[in-house]
C-alpha cells in the first residue's frame, strides 16, 4: 500500500459518488462565491463613498469672515468684508510649514456671453492652487498660472456644464467669452465632478484668478474675499494650524484681546469622521452578511456529509473487512475532503469574482475584490468540509469492522 493507491481509492470514491461530491462542492462554492461577491460589492461601494467625500478636498480648512454685527441684524456667513486677499497671501508667507496651499475665493455672479449664447453662473476668483485644494482635475487645456494670477490676466477655466451651454460642440480652448462686459480667454475645461453630496452641480462654474475677479468684476477697493480655502500639509497638525492661523489673523486684523475673532474656521474632519463611522458600519454589516453566507454554505456541506454518514460508515466497515488499515481509511477521507475543498474553493473564488463583476457591471458599481475575503472564506469552507467529512471517518475507523458493517 502506498500513497498512490490511497489517492486512487479516494479519487475513485469521489467519482463514484458524483452527486454527493457535487453537492459538497456546491456548498463550498456557494459559501465562498457569496462572501467574495458581497464583500467585493460592499468594499466597492464604501470606496466610492469615500472617494466622493474626498472630491470635497484634501486636508481642507475653510476660513470665513465673521458675519457683520451691526446692532441686532446679522448677515450670513461670508458676507463680512473683513478678510482680504492680503490675509491669504500672509498665510501663505507666514505659515508655509503648516499650510501647503492657499486659495482665497472671490465670488461674482455674472452673465457669460459667447457669440449669440449666454449663461449665468457663479464666477469664482481663486488662486492657481485651487485644483490641488479641491481636487479639481483639468479635462482639456490647462489651469491658469501663478504669473497670470499676479498679472491680473483675463483668463478663465470653465466647468463642463458651462462648456455645454456656451460652446455646444465647439472647442472652447483659446476662445474669448465675456463675463459681464469683460472679455476673458478660456484656457481650460475642468474635468466633470458631477453633483456634490447636496445635489449642487459642481460643474456649473467658472474659475478665474482672484486678482482679476476682485479688480474687474467685484471692483472691491479693499481686495476683500468671501472666504479662504487652505490645504494643510498634515491633517494631524489641524489644531496647531488653527491656533497659528487664528493668532496670525487676529494680529493682522488688530483685534484687542477682549474682542472675539472676526472670522471662523471650518474643517472636514467632522464629515470625515462621520464617513469613517459609516464606512466601519458598512464593514460590520458586510461581515455579518458574509458570515451568514458562509454559515449557510457550511450547513449545506454539513448536511450532505452527515446524510451520507450511514453509507460511508458501512463502506468503511467493508474496506476494513477486506484489509484497509485505520490509517488508510483516514488518509482516503482526508484526501477526499482536500480534493473537494480545493476544487470547490477554486470554483467558488472564480464564481464569486464573475458574479461580483457582473453585478458591478450591470449596476455601474465599482468592485473591490480583496484576497483576504477569498482566503478566509476558503479556509472556513475547507475546515467545515474536512471536519464533517473526516470526523465520521475517524469515529468509524476506531470501531470493529463488524460494528461498522452493522451500523444503522
Amino acid at each position: 500500500m502506498n500513497v498512490t493507491m490511497i489517492f486512487r481509492v479516494a479519487l475513485l470514491a469521489i467519482m463514484r459518488n458524483k452527486t454527493r461530491s457535487l453537492l459538497t462542492c456546491l456548498g463550498i462554492i456557494v459559501g465562498i462565491a457569496a462572501v467574495i461577491a458581497v464583500l467585493a460589492i460592499g468594499k466597492g461601494a464604501s470606496t466610492m463613498m469615500l472617494n466622493e467625500i474626498s472630491t470635497m478636498g484634501n486636508n481642507l480648512v475653510m476660513v470665513f469672515p465673521d458675519r457683520n454685527r451691526q446692532g441686532q441684524v446679522r448677515s450670513g456667513m461670508g458676507a463680512g468684508q473683513t478678510m482680504t486677499a492680503d490675509d491669504a497671501e500672509a498665510i501663505k508667507r507666514e505659515l508655509p510649514h503648516l499650510v501647503q496651499y492657499v486659495s482665497p475665493a472671490v465670488n461674482a455672479s455674472s452673465q457669460l456671453v459667447y457669440q449669440n449664447r449666454n449663461w449665468n453662473c457663479r464666477v469664482s476668483g481663486v488662486s492657481c492652487d485651487m485644483p490641488e485644494i479641491r481636487n479639481w482635475q483639468i479635462g482639456t487645456g490647462r489651469f491658469f498660472t501663478e504669473d497670470e494670477e499676479r498679472n491680473y490676466a483675463r483668463v478663465c477655466v470653465i466647468g463642463t456644464t458651462v462648456e455645454r451651454h456656451l460652446f455646444e460642440d465647439e472647442d472652447p480652448i483659446g476662445r474669448t467669452i465675456r463675463i459681464g462686459s469683460i472679455p476673458f480667454k478660456v484656457v481650460g475645461v475642468l474635468r466633470s465632478k458631477g453633483a456634490n453630496g447636496w445635489g449642487q452641480d459642481q460643474d456649473d462654474t467658472v474659475m478665474a484668478p482672484y486678482t482679476t475677479v476682485g479688480r474687474v468684476l467685484v471692483r472691491s477697493k479693499f481686495r476683500s474675499v468671501n472666504m479662504m480655502n487652505l490645504s494643510l500639509r498634515d491633517m494631524g497638525d489641524l489644531e496647531e494650524a488653527k491656533r497659528e492661523l487664528t493668532a496670525l489673523l487676529r494680529q493682522r486684523h488688530k483685534l484687542p484681546d477682549y474682542q472675539d475673532d472676526d472670522f471662523e474656521t471650518r474643517d472636514t474632519t467632522e464629515i470625515m469622521s462621520t464617513m469613517g463611522s459609516v464606512s466601519s458600519l458598512m464593514t460590520v454589516l458586510l461581515t455579518a452578511v458574509a458570515a451568514i453566507s458562509l454559515l449557510v454554505g457550511g450547513i449545506g456541506i454539513m448536511n450532505i456529509m452527515l446524510v451520507s454518514v450511514t453509507e460511508r460508515i458501512r463502506e468503511i466497515g467493508l474496506r476494513m473487512a477486506i484489509g484497509a488499515t485505520p490509517f488508510m481509511i483516514l488518509s482516503q477521507f482526508i484526501i477526499e475532503a482536500v480534493v473537494l475543498s480545493t476544487v470547490g474553493g477554486a470554483l467558488g473564488v472564480g464564481l464569486g469574482v464573475v458574479v461580483a463583476n457582473v453585478i458591478g457591471e450591470v449596476n455601474h458599481w465599482p468592485i473591490v475584490i480583496e484576497a483576504s475575503s477569498a482566503i478566509y472564506s476558503f479556509l472556513f469552507s475547507a475546515f467545515v468540509g474536512m471536519f464533517f467529512g473526516f470526523y465520521p471517518a475517524y469515529r468509524a475507523s476506531r470501531l470493529n469492522p463488524i460494528d461498522c458493517l452493522r451500523y444503522e
Binding site: 475513485l12 467493508l318 476494513m320 473487512a321 477486506i322 488499515t325 469492522p401 460494528d403
Partner: protein, 235 residues
C-alpha cells in the same frame, strides 16, 4: 499437530444493560487446512459472533485464537487489518459491495490495499476471477445492474483476490433464491476441492449439507461437532 485455526476457551461478553450477555461462552475448536465447515444454530446462538471473531472482524473478550500459528486475540487494529487482507476472505449475507462501483473495481479493491500487483496484473487477475465465478462479461456492471446471485459471485471473486487460505461466509445464500443458492454452493464446493478452507454460517440444513463438518452452537456454546462428511444432514 498444528491446526490452521485453534480456539481455546474463547469468550465474548456484551455488557448490555445490567445482565452481561455471553455471546460466546467458552468455545474451544480446531479447524484444519482444507476443511469445509458449516456453523449452525438458532438465531442468538452465537454462531455469527463466532464467525466474526474467526474472521478478525470482531475481538474476543478473553481466550486464545491461533490462526496459522499466530496469536490473534491481542493484535493491534492495523495488524488485524493486514491479516484480514492477506489471509482471510469474506462473503456476507447482504454482499456488502460498494454502491455505484463496477464489478471489476470491487474485485480489485483488496489488492489496492495490499499493493502486491501492478495495475495491469491487478486488472488481469480481477478479470480472471470474474470469469471464474461466471461473470466474464460483466466487469463494468455496478451492483444495481446485477442480480443477487451475480452480486454474491462478485463478492466471492473479491474475497479470492489476494489468494487467502481461508474463506468466511456468513449466510452466503440468505438473500438468494434456490437456484442462485445452488450455484453459489457449487462454487464453494469447487473452491473447497481446490484446497481453500471454508467456514460458513447457515441455519439451513440443505445449505449446510454441502459442508463436510457441522458445528452446532447453542447459547454461546459449541454443542455438537459432526465430522461425518458431506451429505449427512446435521440434526
Amino acid at each position: 499437530m498444528s491446526h490452521l485455526i485453534e480456539f481455546r476457551d474463547l469468550k465474548k461478553i456484551y455488557a448490555q444493560g445490567e445482565e452481561p450477555v455471553h455471546a460466546l461462552d467458552g468455545v474451544s475448536l480446531d479447524i484444519d487446512s482444507g476443511e469445509f465447515v458449516a456453523i449452525m444454530g438458532a438465531s442468538g446462538s452465537g454462531k455469527s459472533t463466532l464467525l466474526n471473531i474467526l474472521g478478525c472482524l470482531d475481538t474476543p473478550t478473553s481466550g486464545s485464537y491461533m490462526l496459522d500459528g499466530m496469536e490473534i486475540a491481542q493484535r493491534s487494529r492495523k495488524e488485524l487489518a493486514q491479516i484480514r487482507n492477506k489471509k482471510l476472505g469474506f462473503v456476507f449475507q447482504n454482499f456488502n459491495l460498494l454502491p455505484r462501483t463496477s464489478a471489476i473495481e470491487q474485485v480489485e479493491l483488496p489488492d489496492l490495499y495490499m499493493g502486491r500487483l501492478s495495475r495491469r496484473d491487478r486488472h488481469r487477475r480481477a478479470l480472471e476471477l470474474l470469469t471464474r465465478v461466471g461473470l466474464g462479461g460483466r466487469g463494468t456492471h455496478t451492483p444495481a445492474q446485477l442480480s443477487g446471485g451475480q452480486q454474491q459471485r462478485v463478492a466471492i471473486a473479491r474475497a479470492l483476490m489476494n489468494e487467502p487460505p481461508v474463506l468466511f461466509a456468513d449466510e452466503p445464500t440468505g438473500n438468494l433464491d434456490t437456484k442462485a443458492s445452488v450455484e453459489i454452493m457449487n462454487l464453494f464446493t469447487e473452491l473447497s476441492r481446490e484446497g481453500i478452507t471454508i467456514v460458513m454460517v447457515t441455519h439451513e440444513d440443505d445449505i449446510a449439507a454441502y459442508a463436510k463438518r457441522h458445528l452446532v452452537m447453542k447459547d454461546g456454546k459449541l454443542v455438537k461437532d459432526d465430522r461425518r462428511g458431506a451429505g449427512g444432514a446435521a440434526a
